[in-house]
């Protein structure tokens, strides 16, 4: 179910003294199976943009088509679309409320009116996706868990709806490096093995360099660039001008090229740089 945005604009508090346009004239198509990273600094409109994709916000102008259907059309069943487009908010663990992990994850599927057996299956599958052992955690209170575990419970709650498109708004904020890795490798698996389209808002250029198939770069409410990490991260000057910067590996690549080392201009991960540098080293190394 491709997602298409036609000239989408959103103005908060239109007509009041606090009127502010958060996104302006956004045109985008997101195809099935993409892993999209939305990047841009605070206030650039990233969260506003993704909250449109499951109908949480309505554009003040323009149109959003999901699978060809107008998301905000009069006859559209938005509830059904929300099941297919799951949104994980920033700090989603603040929204946990049930007595046990299993009940919290089951909350969404229960509202779908599924059988108890189907709900149980979905809870088990969702917990497996986020690497939480069912026997160990299902009956625990979510509030006894660590921050990283609580966040995984919250994500499992969205996964239990079995969405086709998964949107995550800064899913690793505030986590330690191990917690960040766990969340990211889980998202990568959902994309690679589960066939889920992923749209992830992130502040970490190094993470998106590793994971995303395409980047959407936002600045001041507009999409200023879109392309593969390779295409975007070679534009070091543009990325620095909008205060985003590039991954450390891309920065190193640019500095080494300036110093006269003959490297391609489109290396952006540590692995690519390691290979290119070792190849160069072999050329000059005496033995």
């Amino acid at each position: 179910m491709p997602i298409r945005l036609n000239n989408v604009t959103h103005t908060y508090s239109e007509g009041s003294a606090f009127q502010a346009t958060a996104i302006r004239g956004v045109n985008l198509t997101i195809e099935d199976g993409e892993f999209i990273a939305v990047i841009g600094h605070t206030g650039s409109g990233k969260s506003t943009l993704v909250q449109h994709l499951n109908g949480l916000l309505k554009p003040t102008d323009g149109q959003i088509l999901i699978d060809g259907e107008d998301l905000n059309g009069e006859k559209t069943d938005r509830r059904r679309i929300r099941q297919k487009v799951g949104l994980v908010f920033q700090y989603p663990e603040y929204q946990l409320f049930e007595e046990t992990v299993a009940k919290d994850i089951a909350f969404g599927p229960k509202n779908l009116g599924l059988s108890d057996e189907e709900i149980d299956q979905r809870v088990r599958r969702a917990m497996a996706h986020v690497h939480l052992d069912y026997d160990k955690y299902a009956e625990r209170s979510p509030f006894e868990l660590s921050g990283g575990q609580m966040r995984r419970v919250a994500i499992a709650g969205v996964l239990a709806m079995e969405p086709k498109v998964l949107i995550l708004d800064e899913p690793t904020a505030g986590l330690d490096p191990k917690g960040r890795d766990r969340i990211l490798s889980m998202v990568r698996d959902l994309h690679a093995q589960g066939g889920v389209t992923v749209i992830m808002v992130s502040h970490s250029m190094d993470d998106v360099a590793r994971l995303a198939t395409r980047l959407i770069v936002m600045s001041k409410g507009e999409v200023v660039a879109t392309g593969t990490p390779r295409e975007i991260f070679r534009q070091v000057e543009m990325m620095e001008k909008i205060h985003l910067g590039v991954p450390e590996a891309a920065k190193l690549c640019a500095v080494l090229r300036e110093k006269g080392i003959d490297l391609p201009d489109d290396l952006y991960t540590p692995d690519q740089l390691r290979e290119a540098l070792l190849a160069k080293w072999k050329e000059v190394s005496p033995c």
């Binding site: 600094h41 490096p177 190094d206 450390e248 190193l252 080494l256 540590p270």
Partner: protein, 280 residues
């Protein structure tokens, strides 16, 4: 000279009977030092921060800040004036509707005479380069700007120590940089001692010293160069090393003689250049 902060055999337990959050911590911070504290979620590093300005009192042992014992209730306000704390969420730290009034809040609590306030507020806002926003509404500011206002609020109290508990966790890369740069400048120019708790290895790489906390104990302490050489150990502790340190290890494995203690892009570029740059 005496140390700014002395943590002497400190243990801390939240509730009687519970496992201790911290056990037998010994740590000293010298005047003017910039110390980063690393540790995974739940390792006890925030508990440690809160012990440093008497938000918590040790269950065992003592915390001495600028010569003041945090167990002495009569000196709590002196300690908090000496050791100001910035927290993670910029929105939870702003109390007033105008930036300069927010900075004044701490001064009012200290009983600073009203006529002395404007000068102190102005110099505090200038120090974090926010003076042009003195009359702005805090909610119109970016996250990084809000954190700088929070820092100004602390600076107005003329502290000798700033404790930052993941002050950059909720900020974007440019906000993170502006807050860290601000604190580093205050450290260098005003000699303010800094305890910087973070999950970002690249930030810790800029500190004079790194303290690694694990399961309520200090697992390692040393310069960033020493600490980040222990790549496997850091990853076992659910932490990491700066990207360039990890790349250095990979290049060494491939036979390229890059020193293992590289921390930054600039250092890495220099080392690579020694081996590969065209000689002219």
């Amino acid at each position: 000279m005496d140390e700014r902060i002395k943590v002497d055999q400190v243990s801390f337990t939240y509730e009687e009977g519970a496992d201790p959050a911290l056990t037998s911590i010994d740590m000293k911070v010298q005047p003017g030092e910039f110390v980063a504290v690393l540790g995974h979620n739940g390792s006890g590093k925030s508990t440690l921060a809160k012990l440093l300005n008497a938000l918590y009192i040790p269950t065992e042992g003592a915390v001495i800040v600028c010569g003041l014992d945090t167990r002495d209730e009569s000196r709590v306000w002196d300690i908090r004036q000496q050791a100001g704390m910035i927290f993670q969420n910029p929105d939870n730290q702003i109390v007033a509707t105008v930036v300069k009034e927010d900075v004044a809040f701490g001064l009012e609590n200290l009983g600073v005479p009203t006529e002395d306030m404007p000068a102190r507020i102005e110099s505090a806002l200038a120090a974090v380069r926010m003076n042009e926003f003195a009359d702005s509404a805090p909610h119109m500011l970016s996250g990084g700007q809000k954190q700088r206002v929070a820092i100004a609020g602390i600076l107005a109290m003329e502290p000798s120590v700033i404790i930052a508990d993941e002050a950059t966790a909720m900020l974007d890369p440019s906000g993170r940089k502006e807050v860290l740069d601000t604190v580093r400048r205050l450290n260098r120019q005003k000699g303010i001692t800094v305890v910087w708790i973070t999950h970002f290895m690249e930030e810790a790489a800029q500190a004079d010293r790194v303290v690694v906390v694990n399961q309520g104990r200090i697992a390692r302490m040393g310069s960033p160069r020493e600490v980040f050489q222990h790549i496997d150990e850091m990853r076992d502790l659910h932490l990491d090393v700066p990207h360039m340190t990890a790349l250095a290890a990979e290049l060494r494995k491939g036979g390229m003689p890059i020193p293992q203690d590289v921390l930054t892009v600039e250092e890495m570029a220099q080392e690579v250049c020694k081996l590969l740059c065209p000689s002219d």
